[in-house]
């Protein structure tokens, strides 16, 4: 498979406003919906008084828990079926009106009566009530290999530290929206989702209807980062119920403020870490995580999971526990687990290097894990040491001793580095390719493009396989009328679509080859198929001059074009012969004003090894986007709950700081191409890698600059005093 720099397939459509996002769908007779929110964070909804609201102009419909009683009980419907209040701002009803302003005004005019109970609004109020979940994602929550207690007792050096990370919110540019209607017993749902088929399945479950009667569309997404998933479903269901009740299309779009409470968050963590060393080698690691979840659902990031893999160490104990609070529910957020987890582990490694008096990079090389020690099997490929080498060289890490702690203008300079990693996984996937008589190619797969380049990747894989230029390719995705594709999460879409598209194009190639070689009238008649290649819109002989255009080959058999489907089944990653993992080494230079304690990232070098890179242009963009998210987590982003009311404070971009252009450092991205024989196409996911490691690299650089070790995120002015 070739790697090619191809500009984004849908780029022109997006920058010219022609890409229509699902929330922009505006069918005839559309009603606009708004949510009524709970003013308390714990209690029981007693009643809704809508009498004043119903007198307002344009107020046709109120949808409440009573309407949702017809839905099948499940985790996805509990918040709209059960009247318990779990967090401040929890919707207690939906109103639909002729205009958005009328809907919002009606929502405000509804009097909500709630029997309030004492709320628990801060995780640290209830650390004694922490409990252990069974699983963290697809990993066990607690693991133990060897005997870390004993090894820590025998270690020459023990580094024992606590680290904390704040709540973050995802905040894609495009807020969640749904435009839905019913066509008889069938439902049409235009919505922002990272999983159209998952959304269809949950609608089918809740409304007890056949999946085939539901069409879910998400053809463009303005970002997802993990929040366009299950927490959106209850509010989407209410919109669907409003549509059924009124027999009109209904649109619900969340406000930016609601994006802080209704669709998930990165959970806060407190992490206790102990590292034991003998002779500069890790002999023990204990990583203990306490994190927040809500009172209505359970979620734990795989925060300590990466500690099981990253370093060679015979004695490793990890544990995750959760504390329930009356705050919004967490979900995975870009680099879930690995971002907070590597912050702790890679900060502690830096602290250890300092205590051991050796270079942090050397300490990591000394403790490189040459196989997956947790599962006792080889890596499918692992170029982490190459990442360290290339990154250090491009960054100029060797100058650390002389250049860091120098002053440039008002800035004291600090260098820091850290490692990032994320598993290479894939899902079941089906894809269809259709070569038309005019030589154009249609590629279809029911996955989504969050804005990261799935359109381009789908088109590119198919175009390359058939030797066609990209401008001959049309890509369709984001529609459950298409073959089932993977959900967009876990950095695995490209790895999943590749084998499916590859299988489909292989079938098509076989048929086309057969048409050409079996027809004596073709210039390729009688040629051995293994001698033929697809290139430049032709099938050509590799050894001679013979060749025929694809359109001409096709015309020999049919005037209707040809199509083929490919499929990859679900993978049981635990049963594979080798563990797939992507890696990166992040090097940063920061400046800290030693008297005013402002922190600015000056430059970042990320060297990543994540299998075969299909499209370096898109990969670079995704790495940089990931790193920017990581800078936000490291220095800016923090969602704060008011302890008294349980309300999220400052629900706007005025208060919730994210990096702006002026905060952007110079980025240098190095991609180390791997030839991974274990993975289809050698493809690993890259979406998470940029967003982990950078937090610790920044914290380590702050320490390098001003000798201040900050063990919390975000790192703010007051932490550098």
């Amino acid at each position: 498979m070739k790697d090619r720099t191809i500009a984004r397939y849908e780029g022109v459509l997006k920058v010219t406003g022609q890409a229509r996002y699902e929330g922009e769908t505006s069918p005839e007779g559309l009603l606009h919906a708004a949510l009524v929110e709970s003013p308390v964070s714990c209690g029981e909804l007693e009643s809704l008084d809508a009498s004043w609201a119903t007198a307002l102009r344009g107020f046709p419909t109120l949808v409440t828990h009573d309407d949702a009683a017809s839905l099948k009980p499940s985790a996805a419907t509990s918040l709209i079926r059960e009247k318990a209040i779990h967090f401040h701002g929890q919707p207690v009803a939906l109103v639909a009106a002729a205009s958005l302003s009328e809907a919002r005004e009606a929502a405000k005019a509804i009097n909500v009566s709630i029997a309030a109970r004492t709320a628990l609004t801060q995780m640290d109020q209830a650390l004694d009530q922490a409990y252990a979940p069974a699983m963290v994602g697809r990993f066990p929550a607690a693991t133990r290999r060897g005997d870390s207690t004993r090894a820590l007792g025998q270690a020459e050096l023990v580094v024992r530290r606590s680290y904390t990370t704040a709540v973050n919110n995802h905040h894609p540019m495009e807020p969640h929206a749904v435009v839905c209607w019913w066509e008889g017993k069938k439902a049409v749902v235009h919505t922002c989702t990272q999983a159209i088929f998952g959304t269809r399945a949950i609608i089918a479950h809740a409304f007890e209807m056949p999946p085939a009667d539901i069409r879910v569309l998400a053809r463009y997404l303005g970002g997802g980062f993990g929040c366009k998933g299950q927490l959106w479903w209850p509010w989407m269901f209410w919109a669907m119920l409003a549509s059924r009740k009124t027999d009109r299309p209904v649109r619900l779009e969340l406000s930016r403020a609601q994006m802080f409470t209704l669709v998930g968050r990165r959970q806060e963590t407190t992490q206790d870490l102990a590292l034991g060393f003998v002779d500069g080698h890790l002999t023990a690691i204990e990583h203990d995580v306490v994190a927040q979840t809500s009172t209505h659902a359970e979620f734990s990031d795989s925060t300590a999971v990466y500690t099981r893999f990253l370093y060679a160490c015979p004695n490793v104990t990890t544990r995750h526990r959760l504390v329930r609070t009356n705050e919004p529910q967490p979900v995975p957020m870009r680099a879930p687990g690995t971002a907070p987890g590597t912050f702790a582990l890679e900060s502690a490694m830096d602290e250890a290097a300092e205590l051991l008096g050796i270079d942090p990079l050397e300490l990591r090389l000394n403790n490189f894990a040459d196989h997956d020690q947790e599962n006792g099997r080889p890596w499918s490929s692992n170029s982490l040491r190459e990442c360290y080498r290339v990154g250090a060289e491009r960054f100029g890490w060797a100058e650390r001793r002389t250049r860091s702690a120098a002053k440039i203008g008002r800035w004291k300079i600090g260098f820091g580095m850290a490692t990032t990693l994320y598993p290479a996984i894939r899902q079941a996937c089906r894809a269809r390719v259709a070569l038309r008589a005019d030589g154009s190619l249609l590629v279809q797969c029911g996955t989504q493009d969050m804005g990261s380049g799935t359109y381009t990747a789908l088109g590119q894989i198919a175009a390359d396989a058939l030797g066609l230029p990209m401008d001959k390719v049309t890509v369709e995705l984001g529609d459950t009328d298409l073959p089932d594709g993977p959900f967009s999460g876990g950095s695995q879409v490209t790895a999943s679509i590749f084998p499916a598209v590859d299988a489909a194009t292989s079938k098509l190639r076989a048929v086309l080859t057969s048409i050409a070689t079996s027809d004596p009238a073709s210039p390729l008649g009688g040629k051995p198929p293994e001698d033929l290649e697809f290139a430049d819109g032709m099938i050509r002989s590799r050894s001679g001059n013979a060749g025929e255009r694809l359109t001409d080959v096709l015309a020999r058999a049919t005037s209707n074009g040809l199509e083929a489907e490919g499929e990859i089944p679900a993978t049981d990653h635990q049963k594979l012969a080798a563990t797939g993992m992507g890696y990166g080494a992040i090097f940063v230079e920061i400046g800290v004003d030693p008297e005013l304690w402002e922190i600015r990232v000056r430059r970042v070098c990320g060297a990543f090894a994540a299998g075969h890179i299909l499209n370096p242009l898109l990969a670079r963009s995704q790495y940089i986007g990931g790193l920017i998210g990581g800078i936000g987590m490291a220095l800016h982003e923090e969602t704060v709950t008011d302890a008294t009311t349980g309300s999220i404070l400052g629900k706007s971009f005025t208060d919730y700081l994210i990096p702006v252009h002026a905060d952007m450092p110079a980025f240098d991205i190095a991609m180390i191409d791997e030839n991974d024989p274990h993975l289809p196409g050698g493809v690993k996911g890259i979406g998470m890698l940029g967003t982990a490691g950078i937090q610790a690299a920044i914290a380590n650089a702050v320490n390098d600059a001003i000798g201040k070790r900050v063990r919390k995120l975000p790192i703010r002015i007051e932490d550098c005093l």
């Binding site: 005004e105 404070l649 706007s652 208060d655 002015i717």
Partner: protein, 329 residues
């Protein structure tokens, strides 16, 4: 009419605007960068919105030692104006540290002085805030108060004033011209902003229907060679000050003849640092003199749980601003 609706009137004459503005529930709309957000967040619900952005009050003029900035002048125009750049660089510095380019293109000088606080308890209608709902209490005092005041707070309000421009103008002893249907009056800028009470915390001392028509700065060009605006924040742009300092010196024969210092992000108004100023007069612009001014700047600071870091930050910011101003020539 619904509460989300309002009557919109575009005023073309000042007298017309003032007579409409005296109606209860009327609000003046200039750049709209603050009012529109407040309205969208249901924090204000004017019945009548009087658009004054087209009133002929946008001129920036200099006559003798007097600079007059029309209240409707856009911030970006003020900062780009040759007379302001040459004679009052402190004003340019403060404006260019404010908001973003897009916001500065819309926001007006007068409106900037009257922007509401950015305290997160003010900006959420569900939370206690005496500034928004007199008598409802102050959620920030015992809640999240990283951004709260060090000086002049009360049990009823600890919110800071958000304007950078006001801090620079306070240092330059600016005056504002105010008009209403019943006449005109002048006010020292520092008198525009009252300290909070126990159950009320008005943002300004403007009376209903009054409008700022101009900002006047007299005799401030003498500070042009030695002035600076220092703004400290968590990110490099588009954020309100954690702490800011406007410093202006007149140095004569190697001695500080006059000093002006005002701090932002530490009080409900631009906080003049009078003791620091007095201590600088007659001294050479040395590290020792600046350090002493820094120490005096934080006298009387009363921190809350989350904002004690602003005390050393303010001290160091005063020192840094004085170093920067003192180094210029």
């Amino acid at each position: 009419m619904s509460s989300a609706s309002f009557n919109y009137v575009r005023a073309t004459e000042l007298t017309d605007a003032l007579s409409q503005g005296k109606r209860p529930g009327a609000a003046y709309l200039a750049g709209g960068t603050d009012l529109l957000q407040l309205w969208k967040a249901s924090l204000t619900a004017p019945q009548d919105v009087i658009d004054i952005s087209r009133l002929p009050l946008a001129d920036i003029t200099r006559a003798g030692d007097r600079l007059v900035i029309g209240a409707m002048a856009r911030l970006s125009d003020v900062a780009a104006h040759p007379e302001v750049k040459a004679g009052h660089p402190l004003i340019c510095d403060a404006i260019l540290a404010s908001a973003s380019g897009q916001v500065r293109n819309l926001a007006t000088a007068g409106g900037n002085l009257l922007q509401r606080t950015r305290c997160p308890y003010f900006s959420d209608a569900g939370l206690a805030c005496n500034k928004r709902d007199p008598g409802s209490g102050c959620g920030a005092r015992d809640g999240e108060n990283r951004h709260a005041v060090l000086f002049g707070g009360s049990s009823g309000c600890v919110a800071t004033h958000a304007s950078d421009l006001a801090v620079a103008l306070a240092a330059l002893d600016a005056e504002i011209a105010i008009s209403s249907a019943s006449g005109e009056r002048q006010l020292a800028l520092s008198d525009l902003y009252p300290l909070p009470g126990e159950t009320t915390a008005p943002d300004s001392s403007l009376r209903p229907g009054e409008m700022i028509t101009a900002i006047r700065i007299v005799g401030a060009e003498r500070f042009a060679p030695h002035s600076t605006y220092l703004k400290i924040r968590d990110r490099a742009s588009f954020e309100f000050a954690v702490v800011s300092v406007a410093a202006a010196l007149r140095i004569e024969d190697g001695v500080i003849a006059e000093a002006r210092l005002a701090a932002g992000g530490v009080a409900s108004l631009p906080w003049r640092l009078g003791r620091s100023e007095a201590a600088l007069i007659g001294r050479a612009p040395t590290e020792q003199a600046f350090a002493a001014a820094g120490e005096l700047a934080i006298e009387g600071a009363r921190p809350l749980e989350g904002n004690a870091f602003k005390i050393p930050l303010l001290r160091n910011a005063v020192i840094r601003a004085l170093q920067t101003a003192g180094d210029q020539s």
